[in-house]
Amino acid sequence: MTQLTMAKAITAGLRKAMEDDPKVVLFGEDIGRLGGVFRVTDGLQKDFGEHRVMDSPLAESGIVGTAVGLAMRGYRPVVEIQFDGFVYPAFDQIVSQVAKMHRRTEGLLMMPIVVRIPYGGGIGAVEHHSESPEAYFTHTAGLRVLSPSDPQAAYLTIQQAIACDDPVVYFEPKRRYWDKGDVDLSIDATDLAQVPGPWRARLVRRGTDVTVACYGPMVRTCLEAAEASADVSLEVIDLQSLSPLDMDTVVSSVERTGRLVVVHEATANGGLGAEVATRVTERCFYSLEAPVLRVAGFDVPYPPSRLEEHFLPNLDRVLDAVDRAMAF
């Protein structure tokens, strides 16, 4: 076991993927000499060369659009979008090309592209640096969407995303980049006989009264809420795979607890919480003792940073929802 921050765990995962497969190339703004604004690609250009870790022009559509061409040539591009709020220029390429090329060519072309996006708030940033745009991508057929919540998961899932023949939008919870955790670097992430694949939810804390489903930056928040909850026992599920959703894990938990609270930073309206709630209602309506409740960002543009503590779901808001679920 090695103690690593989540950022360094992703670096280690990227390094391992590049060692394992010479077709893996990294591409993005400031990822080479600088090592990325969050240093996630630190040292990789030095070790793998400028031809495999390429600083790109400052043009997000160009980054993803050229990744499509690289994939057509047989490469496995891992591109970095510097911040969540800067992915939108690339939205057209991601939705119209990355997501659809495999289908368009009736399976003849693969798009094994990973789009890494540091996302979420809580770091006191200026506008466009704290957003949670994952629902745009989970709504798009042809894409897979992952978000790790701790260093060990990050180390494994980044490698699994790269090994996947489908495109993966990989949301990295930037405020957890500096969280440390034990990472077993000896695990072979792509040996799916030994380790579970990434497309599953993780039961990260057992409980009996209320299931709390969350992902990315909210997993730590929800675990802290579970610790703080004296009277009500919370079962915490890290969804991890936002598309496809692993509903079996959620449903089997809700069948035991009878209550579900879904937590995410992203705005509530049309978000993942709505999808999880609907599917739970469809699959285990008679197990529910209370309506599925959401704790999410308000339906406003991300506020100026001095207000973000009031916008972001936190321990108290999670517990407030738990109380409402219990009181129903």
């Binding site: 043009a59 160009g62 061409g69 489908d166």
Partner: protein, 363 residues
């Protein structure tokens, strides 16, 4: 509204509209009689394919067609300049390019029939599927070209787009990426004068080929209705690309003789006399005159090609009408390369729903 537009004086031309061969100091080309005859044949067959497809749309057999009428020289000339391992990134109108890459006529028509969104094997044909989103493919071409560089291969890419696409961010980003990475890409812009109803003044203040200079690579305008000049200029640019000298922008100055698509009505935005002027610059007629005058082809040859075109027309008509309907499974096939729970769940749901009709009519 319809000021007559003509190529720049610098536009490369090897064959005048009257079919007269003229020399050029930089781009002269010496082609065998066989190649010259083949270029003629290609253009005639592509035009017939195009004409038949337009008719099939009118008969309700195709959902839509984007005619390439008038642009055969630009497409065939550039397509035939490519080596076997070069890779084309065409738009939805580039039937002459697909043809030159060896894509079968019915493969071209399949997406317009609505049985697929693609139609051919892009890797085997070295030809990407038609791109409908304007300009997206320019970046794909550059990325593919960067892959060629990483592989150290002597291959090149031709990325096709139209005059309207030059206003798109993706095309401009493609210019930047190709330039700074010195990617082996030929940007081939068919300036057919009309982006649906909008003329070039809405897309560029300067001639399109001149914009290359600002991105740091050469731009050249070619008479897009002169198949010899197009082939010469494209072959030259491809050679540059393959030998590591980077990208080139070619502006093929041509004209969209037909509608934007079969859903369009060009009489609302352009005068018939403009079309008539361009009819005198027809790409096929000028090569035919040249071949006949030079004694490279005679009446018998032209008749053979005409007969071949008639047979192609029959093949296209019969082939389109008898194209198999896709199975409903195709809705869920290949959305993902790896197993995906929603695909299987929803596939089962649809099958069960279709089977629930007592007469099986739904299935």
């Amino acid at each position: 509204m319809t000021t007559e537009r003509v190529p720049a004086a610098a536009a490369v031309q090897l064959l005048t509209p009257e079919g007269e061969r003229v020399p050029h100091p930089d781009y002269d080309i010496s082609l065998s009689d066989d190649v010259l005859r083949d270029l003629y044949r290609d253009m005639v067959l592509v035009r017939r394919l195009d004409t038949e497809a337009t008719a099939l749309q009118r008969q309700g057999e195709l959902g839509l067609w984007a005619p390439c009428l008038g642009q055969e020289a630009a497409q065939v000339g550039s397509g035939r300049a490519m080596h076997e391992n070069d890779f084309a990134f065409p738009t939805y109108r580039d039937h002459g390019v697909a043809w030159a890459r060896g894509v079968a006529p019915l493969e071209i028509l399949a997406m317009f029939r609505g049985v697929t969104n693609g139609g051919w094997d892009p890797i085997r044909k070295r030809c990407a599927p038609y791109m409908i989103v304007i300009g997206n493919q320019a970046l794909h071409g550059v990325g593919y070209g960067m892959g060629i560089q990483l592989d150290g291969a002597e291959e090149a890419v031709v990325a096709y787009f139209g005059d309207g696409a030059t206003a798109e961010g993706d095309v401009n980003e493609a210019f930047v990426f190709a330039s700074v990475y010195n990617a082996p890409v030929v940007f081939f812009c068919q300036n057919n004068q009309w982006a649906i109803s909008q003329s070039q003044e809405r897309h560029s203040r300067v001639p399109i080929y001149e914009r290359a200079a600002g991105f740091g690579f050469p731009g050249v305008q070619v008479d897009g209705n002169d198949v010899l000049a197009v082939m010469a200029v494209t072959a030259h640019a491809l050679d540059r690309a393959r030998s590591g000298d980077g990208p080139t922008l070619i502006e093929a100055y041509t004209y969209r003789m037909g509608a934007h698509t079969t859903s369009d009505d060009p009489t609302r935005y352009r005068h018939a006399n403009e079309v008539e002027v361009w009819r005198l610059r027809d790409p096929i007629e000028r090569l035919k005159v040249f071949l006949a005058r030079q004694g490279i082809a005679d009446r018998a040859y032209f008749d053979v090609v005409e007969h071949e075109a008639d047979e192609l027309a029959i093949l296209v008509r019969d082939g389109v009408r008898s194209m198999p309907e896709p199975s409903i499974d195709a809705i869920f096939d290949n959305v993902y390369a790896e197993p995906h729970p929603l695909m299987e769940e929803q596939r089962r749901t649809l099958h069960a729903y279709e089977a629930s009709f007592a007469d099986g009519a739904g299935a």
